[in-house]
C-alpha cells in the first residue's frame, strides 16, 4: 500500500508529530504519578486502576490535535494539492492518512495507559493495582482503541474544516465542554449526553470499574462494547462525509 508509505514518510519527516507523541505519553504517565504519589498515606491503599488513567483524556486530546494537524497543515501549506496530484484518488490518499494517524494514536494510547498504570504501581505500592478482570483489561488496553477512533474523528474534522485553529477548537470544545454542557438542558439533557460520542467512549472504558476515590460512575446508555461500536459509528460517519466532501470540492 503505497499511500501508507507516503503518509508514514509525511508524518515522521516533520518534528511536531514527534512532540505530540512524547507530550501525549508524558501527560498520562506524569499525571498518574502525581495523582497517586500525592495521595495522603491513609488513602493510598484505596487507589484504583481507574485513578491511574486520570490523564488519559488530556493525552487523547493531544493525539487528536496531532491527527487534525496532519491534515490541516497540508491545506495550510498547499501540499494537499501535490498529494492529490500524485494520487488523484482523493479518498485513497485521505484513508491512507487516517490509517497511519489512527495507528500511531492507538500505539501512543496503549503506551500511555500502560505507562500510567506502571508508574502508579511504582509510586503507590500499597494499593492493589493488579489487572485481573476483563473490565480492567478493557480500561487499560482499550485506551488504544479509543485513541485510534478519536484520531479518526480528528482527521475527519480536519478535512472538513481545513484550518488548524478552527479544527482544534472544535476537537477540544466538543468532548470537554459541549458534551458536558448539554446535560444542563432540562428533561432531555441527560439523554443527549448519554448518546454523545465521546461519552460513549468513556462508557466503554469506565463501565464495571472500581471507582474508589475517583467519584461516582455515570449513567450508561449502552453496554461497553456496544458503546465503543457506537463511538466507531460516529467516526465512520464523519469520515464518510469528509471523504465525500474532499472528493467533490476543489482542492
Amino acid at each position: 500500500m503505497s499511500v501508507i508509505t507516503v503518509e508514514r514518510i509525511k508524518l515522521f519527516s516533520t518534528r511536531s508529530p514527534w512532540w505530540c507523541m512524547v507530550i501525549s505519553a508524558v501527560l498520562s504517565i506524569g499525571l498518574a504519578a502525581l495523582f497517586l504519589g500525592f495521595l495522603p498515606s491513609d488513602e493510598k491503599p484505596r487507589a484504583t486502576i481507574l485513578m491511574t488513567q486520570g490523564g488519559a483524556q488530556l493525552s487523547q486530546m493531544v493525539m487528536m490535535v496531532m491527527a487534525a494537524l496532519a491534515v490541516t497543515t497540508e491545506y495550510r501549506f498547499g501540499t494537499i494539492r501535490t498529494s492529490f496530484q500524485a494520487v488523484p484518488q482523493r479518498a485513497t490518499v485521505l484513508l491512507g492518512k487516517t490509517a497511519v494517524v489512527a495507528a500511531v494514536a492507538g500505539v501512543v494510547g496503549v503506551v500511555a495507559s500502560f505507562g500510567a498504570w506502571a508508574i502508579g504501581n511504582v509510586v503507590d505500592g500499597s494499593a492493589d493495582l493488579a489487572i485481573n478482570t476483563a473490565a480492567e483489561w478493557r480500561l487499560v488496553a482499550g485506551q488504544g482503541l479509543v485513541f485510534a477512533l478519536s484520531a479518526v474523528i480528528a482527521v475527519a474534522v480536519g478535512i472538513l474544516i481545513r484550518q488548524s485553529a478552527g479544527a482544534i477548537a472544535i476537537l477540544i470544545l466538543w468532548p470537554l465542554l459541549l458534551e458536558n454542557l448539554v446535560q444542563l438542558i432540562p428533561k432531555v439533557g441527560d439523554d443527549i449526553s448519554q448518546w454523545s460520542p465521546f461519552k460513549n467512549a468513556d462508557s466503554f472504558l469506565n463501565q464495571g470499574q472500581a471507582f474508589g476515590l475517583a467519584g461516582e460512575p455515570g449513567q450508561y446508555a449502552l453496554s461497553p462494547w456496544w458503546a465503543l461500536l457506537y463511538f466507531a459509528g460516529w467516526a465512520a460517519a464523519l469520515m464518510t462525509i469528509a471523504l465525500f466532501t474532499a472528493s467533490k470540492r476543489d482542492a
Binding site: V6, S13, F77, G78, T79, R81, F84, Q85, P88
Partner: protein
C-alpha cells in the same frame, strides 16, 4: 498532448475561465500567456484534476487526469513553489512523492542532481530562497520522468540568474522531446522560451499561434515622416499602395505614419526622387509589451483606464497567417 474543449470555470458570478478550447502540441514549449487574473492558474489546476470544470473537458492523451495511473510518470507540474511543508527536508518531500507513484528511491537523487540541490537536500524547505524552492518544485515535476510538464509562472520573483537557469532548463526539456506548457504574463519572456503560444484574457482564448507569427505581428514597424510638402508626400505614398495614417498629436506639426513592411531607405529614396524635403524620417517599433497589452487590453480584469487607453492607440499591422479571435467573438 493536452486538449481542452469548451473549458469553463465559474466561481459564483465570476467566470474565471470561459469556454476555452486549445491544444498543447507534443515536443514543444508552449507558452500560456495572459495578464494576471486571466485564468491561467485555474486552467492549469483543471488540467491536473485539482479543480473540477463547471463545464467542458480537458484531457491528457485522451484521458482525464483523475483516471491516470501513476500520474507523476505522465505529467509533472510546478504550480506553486511554496507548496512544501516548511519543516520537511527537500529529500523527504521528494521521497513521499516518489513513494506515492512507486518510483525507485534513486529517482529522488536523480531529480535533486538535475536541479542542483543535492548538497542542501537535507535542509528544511522553509529555509530555502525562492530560487531554491523553485528548483525543488521542478525536481518534483521531473521526479517521474514525465513526457508532459506544466509550469505556472516559473520565473516570477526570480533574480536574473534564476530566470536564465529556468529558461535554459525548459529549452533543454523540450529538446529532449518533452511537451512543456509554461504560463507567464510576460510576452518578452515567452518570446525567448516558447515556440507556440496560447494567449488568453479574462478566461477567453485570444490567440493560438506560433510565437514567431505572434511576435512578428506584435512588433510590426511604422515609419514616421515629417515634411513641409505634406499633401504631396501623402499622395505619392498612396500611389505606391502604402497605408498611411496622420499623426498630428505633436507640436512640430502633422506627421505621416507609414505602415507595412517599409524601410526608411525606401521612403527616403522615394522622397528624393520626387524632390520632397523631409524634416524627419524615423523607424518606430512597437514593443512586445505594448502589443500584448493592446491585444489583451479589453480583457484585463482590473486596470487603470487612462494608461491603457493611451497604449491602445498604438496601431498594428493586420496579422499574417495567424488565427485570431478578436475581442468578444465566440470560438466555433
Amino acid at each position: 498532448m493536452i486538449e481542452a474543449q469548451g473549458l469553463t470555470k465559474r466561481y459564483g458570478a465570476t467566470v474565471a475561465v470561459d469556454n476555452l478550447s486549445f491544444e498543447v502540441k507534443p515536443g514543444k514549449v508552449t507558452g500560456f500567456l495572459g495578464p494576471n487574473g486571466a485564468g491561467k492558474s485555474t486552467t492549469m489546476r483543471m488540467i491536473l484534476g485539482l479543480d473540477t470544470p463547471t463545464s467542458g473537458d480537458v484531457r491528457i492523451d485522451g484521458q482525464h487526469y483523475r483516471d491516470l495511473h501513476k500520474p507523476l510518470t505522465k505529467i509533472g507540474a510546478l504550480l506553486d513553489a511554496k507548496w512544501v511543508h516548511p519543516n520537511r527536508s527537500a529529500r523527504a518531500h521528494l521521497a513521499w512523492m516518489a513513494a506515492s507513484n512507486k518510483l525507485p528511491k534513486s529517482s529522488v537523487d536523480k531529480a535533486l542532481e538535475m536541479v542542483g540541490l543535492t548538497s542542501v537536500a537535507h535542509k528544511r524547505a522553509g529555509a530555502y530562497s525562492l530560487g531554491m524552492s523553485q528548483r525543488l518544485g521542478i525536481a518534483g515535476a521531473l521526479l517521474g520522468d514525465p513526457e508532459v510538464l506544466l509550469f505556472d509562472e516559473p520565473v516570477n520573483g526570480l533574480d536574473p540568474e534564476g530566470i536564465v537557469w529556468i529558461r535554459t532548463f525548459m529549452q533543454k526539456l523540450a529538446s529532449e522531446g518533452r511537451t512543456v506548457l509554461v504560463s507567464s504574463h510576460l510576452l518578452s519572456e515567452m518570446s525567448l522560451t516558447a515556440e507556440e503560444l496560447i494567449v488568453i484574457g479574462r478566461g477567453k482564448l485570444i490567440a493560438q499561434s506560433s510565437t514567431r507569427d505572434f511576435v512578428d505581428r506584435a512588433s510590426g514597424t511604422t515609419v514616421k515622416v515629417r515634411t513641409p510638402q505634406f499633401d504631396q508626400l501623402q499622395n505619392l505614398l498612396r500611389q505606391q499602395q502604402l497605408i498611411t495614417r496622420i499623426d498630428d498629436a505633436e507640436d512640430q506639426g502633422k506627421a505621416l505614419l507609414v505602415e507595412g513592411n517599409v524601410t526608411t531607405d525606401q521612403i527616403g529614396e522615394l522622397a528624393a526622387a520626387h524632390a520632397i524635403v523631409l524634416h524627419e524620417l524615423t523607424l518606430q517599433r512597437g514593443s512586445l509589451e505594448q502589443a500584448f497589452m493592446q491585444m489583451t487590453g479589453d480583457s484585463v480584469q482590473y486596470h487603470a483606464h487612462d494608461e491603457l487607453a493611451h497604449v491602445a492607440d498604438v496601431q498594428l499591422p493586420p496579422p499574417a497567417g495567424t488565427e485570431v479571435a478578436a475581442g468578444p467573438k465566440e470560438e466555433n
